[in-house]
Symmetry: C2
Subunit: 507 residues, 2 copies
């Protein structure tokens, strides 16, 4: 009996007028956009780096509702300058020195066009074999570029391999969850009377108090204790500090299971002593995760690999090509020596995701928090081929050189002090004087809007961070930034001087 | 004392030859890629939908290492056909009927070019105000298009609002973690003697056994019990089933805290009875999360909103515009009535992320698992404007119409049975006969490679799922798919007949 109503078919007739974007308009619009973004990027240093808008600025600029009928693409493109650009913080301006860099390159942008067109969801091998396979091989390319031990690479034929995560935060969480599953299995075997809840309630993880906020958050999300350990006077976490904490916790009946070693902290780009932490973690059976989100890119240059000495003792390693290696966000590279802890712990395997090749290639959905995943390996492939290793090394060396150049300028002016050793593309500095002075100082710098910096504080010292971010940055740009830093210092110190003077007069 | 070595500056001199892609080459390459993807998409139905490659196919096709020197973009583009396309499962072919659709549209692809160029990381408002503000307003536009209650919208001036997550899996996890934080706070107040670990060990969440695998996984990741409840004969979870489970668990001393209501299950696109589950969740103080990942897009058509009756009782609602609403992955739309549970539970607030406007606009990093986030609202803005609401409605109606058309074809052939009511763009069907017959049947269909389907199984019945996926699908494409389905049935039934015949002869 046919119970389908004819009314259902009316909407499928070819006569329906869509008026939506067709291929020819896409070609026009897409090419206009290519020209627009090239012009935007090549001239980005001319724009005010930090916008002047107030919260809520955008809503009045556009309609309250989505339009019923399609608009023209020319109107949409025109609105980019009217609606969007006034509220953009220009991360790729050479005047942008905040946070750490985020990557942006022409090859990566073009790769993403292709990724958007193929638009496969690579949750299993069969869902698009090229998506999984290119990722496996690109992670090997990248691992070799960094000099990672073979155990981390898929080409070694062992269990190890790499995966592209969305962010370093996710990589830390994934590592923590893998470590949690491994610890649960071990303790259940040793102490079969303990319930899962009891075991989890006693687990304890460790990281430097200087580690990224996402490490603390991974502990919160993963529902386990995360102890923040004090670093030494150079802001490096030391082996003896970790060992002392582990011993205390073991005595208190807790179960140490996981530690994060940061290579290049966010506050000051300090490197925890991996050569010391590795042996301690191995001895006490802790999963050791390396968070090298920013600084990891520098390991493409052999001369910086001394900073990851001891890497062979780690269980997982992560850095963000989307920070400093010219691959647009999101591309967070993670390697695991033994992903089976993750794969087995969170393996949910419904029939609609099964396929015949299971086991002979990774199904990356088991390696990550989300199920879906874009074809992100294309970006890596395009960038590695269209720059080549030598240019990527040159990019890192140039940016570190610019940081040292800025450092040398600061050191010519004795009103300033450099607060941390400059190793990568970050310079930590401050005006000699109080924290309050420096707080007012950075507020004034950002208020003037020519350059943008964010501050940090370690123990009781407030300081300014100047990161070399944009790939467009040249020596002359650093001169501009330094002039602005100096001019603002003149202003605030003179003001302060006047204020102090006034203050004296008023006494 | 100046301690910077001059050698650091050598690499920053302008003389360094980069040979990497500059703006002019980007314009050429980008425009070629635009033409390539238009041609790929317009002709995608000519390609074999499912690739024939074996695991490991790709590695021998490319070098073992990244090149030292930059390659030409023309070589990279040529390799797309040689290396990538042979391994692509063509999700946007009208012959692709597996899983559920994933979106792909020209406006979204162009928006992503812009997003890649701005390449801001929108973790806080100040990190790029436009990124946060456009998202707030677009989520209001979208919420209005779906007819969501005002309480979910930011424009209502309450606590509620929307956020773009990466995937529905993350949205479910985020909701579960918010619910967990809320339950912890409540129970700690009521029973101050209980430890966090004890409370968490007693928490229990609920979902239909038909809910997506990511729901079970959210329980695993979040470290809480997740009970899979039986649905009724129409595969809908009923209020009385949930209430019975809650009562049992309360009697056993457990703490019910969270339930997921699926609108459009993955196996058969069944809709849990939200009108029944809502009141039960409210009565027992459970956080109710709606997972409408696929079917939620249909609510842009008022005639389908009866399927979300009771939505006002939910705490969070999620659907994926990146599935069925023509916004490329990743764009998973989530609304929360009260995001403060999330924001407060996982709020880690280092100095380098603080800013002066905190509190007057959302800092979306608190609403999600990762810290970093792309400017994804641009895709939504471009798609909503360049299609218009009417075309998006027409798209949904057309695809549902095509599903009903396919259903009507199946019903003309009495070798087949339709196993589930067809409501959206999914048709569940099977050959009358054993599961083994149907398993062999779908294997043969996918082996022939003209069309691609995945199976599912509910209780003991194995069936085939035909989803209308590609936006290029026309009535004639459905005729092609139906012919293939029928031809393969002829083949396997004749074979089976022969086999049976032979079998008889051999007796």
């Amino acid at each position: 009996m046919i119970i389908v109503h004819l009314s259902h078919f009316m909407c499928i007739s070819k006569g329906l007028k869509m008026d939506a974007m067709e291929a020819n308009q896409f070609k026009d619009f897409g090419k206009e956009m290519i020209d627009y973004v090239a012009s935007y990027l090549e001239n980005v240093r001319e724009r005010r780096v930090l916008p002047t808008v107030e919260p809520g600025y955008l809503r009045p600029l556009i309609p309250e509702k989505a339009p019923d009928k399609p608009d023209k693409w020319q109107n949409v493109l025109a609105d980019v300058e009217k609606v969007i650009m006034p509220g953009v913080t220009h991360w790729h301006s050479p005047r942008f020195h905040a946070y750490f860099p985020t990557a942006n390159s022409y090859p990566a942008i073009v790769a993403d066009i292709l990724s958007g067109a193929i638009a496969c969801i690579g949750f299993t091998w069969i869902a698009s074999p090229a998506c999984t396979e290119l990722e496996v091989v690109m992670m090997d390319w990248l691992g070799q570029m960094l000099g990672l031990p073979d155990e981390f690479l898929a080409k070694s034929g062992g269990r190890g391999g790499g995966v592209i995560q969305g962010t370093a935060s996710e990589a830390t969480l994934v590592a923590l969850l893998g470590a949690k599953a491994k610890a649960l299995a071990r303790v259940k075997k040793e102490k079969p009377h303990m319930s899962d809840a009891e075991i989890v309630g006693n687990l304890v993880a460790y990281a430097s108090a200087q580690s990224h906020s996402s490490v603390e958050r991974a502990g919160l999300l993963g529902g386990v204790r995360m102890r923040a350990l004090e670093s030494d006077e150079n802001n490096k976490l030391r082996g003896e500090t970790l060992e002392k904490a582990i011993k205390e916790d073991l005595e208190a009946g807790l179960i140490p299971f996981f530690a994060v070693n940061t290579l290049g902290t966010t506050s000051s780009c300090a490197f925890d002593r991996l050569d010391e932490l590795g042996p301690v973690c191995n001895e006490y059976n802790l999963w050791l995760h390396i968070d090298a989100a920013y600084a990891g890119s520098a390991f493409v240059c052999p001369e910086y690999r001394y900073l990851m000495a001891g890497i062979e003792k780690a269980d997982s390693f992560n850095f963000n090509p989307h920070k400093w290696l010219l691959v647009n966000f999101d591309c967070s590279a993670m390697w695991l020596k033994d992903p089976s802890w993750l794969v087995n712990a969170f393996n949910v395997d419904p029939l609609y995701l099964k396929h015949e090749q299971q086991g002979s290639a990774p199904d990356y959905r088991h390696w990550q928090i989300p199920l879906g995943r874009r074809f992100r390996a294309l970006k890596l492939w395009f960038v590695l081929r269209l720059y080549g290793v030598e240019n990527l090394q040159a990019h890192i060396r140039k940016q570190i050189g610019l940081a040292h150049y800025y450092e040398s300028l600061v050191r010519t002016d004795d009103r300033f002090e450099i607060t941390e050793e400059v190793l990568m593309g970050l310079v930590c500095f401050r005006l000699k004087g109080t924290n309050e002075l420096n707080e007012a100082y950075i507020k004034r710098i950002n208020g003037r809007g020519l350059i943008h910096l964010v501050p940090s504080k370690i123990r009781d010292t407030f300081f300014l961070r100047l990161a070399i971010c944009s790939r467009f940055t040249e020596k002359a740009d650093i001169d501009v930034s330094w002039k602005e830093i100096k001019d603002t210092a003149d202003e605030i110190l003179n003001n302060n001087h006047c204020n102090n003077h006034n203050h004296v007069n008023h006494k």
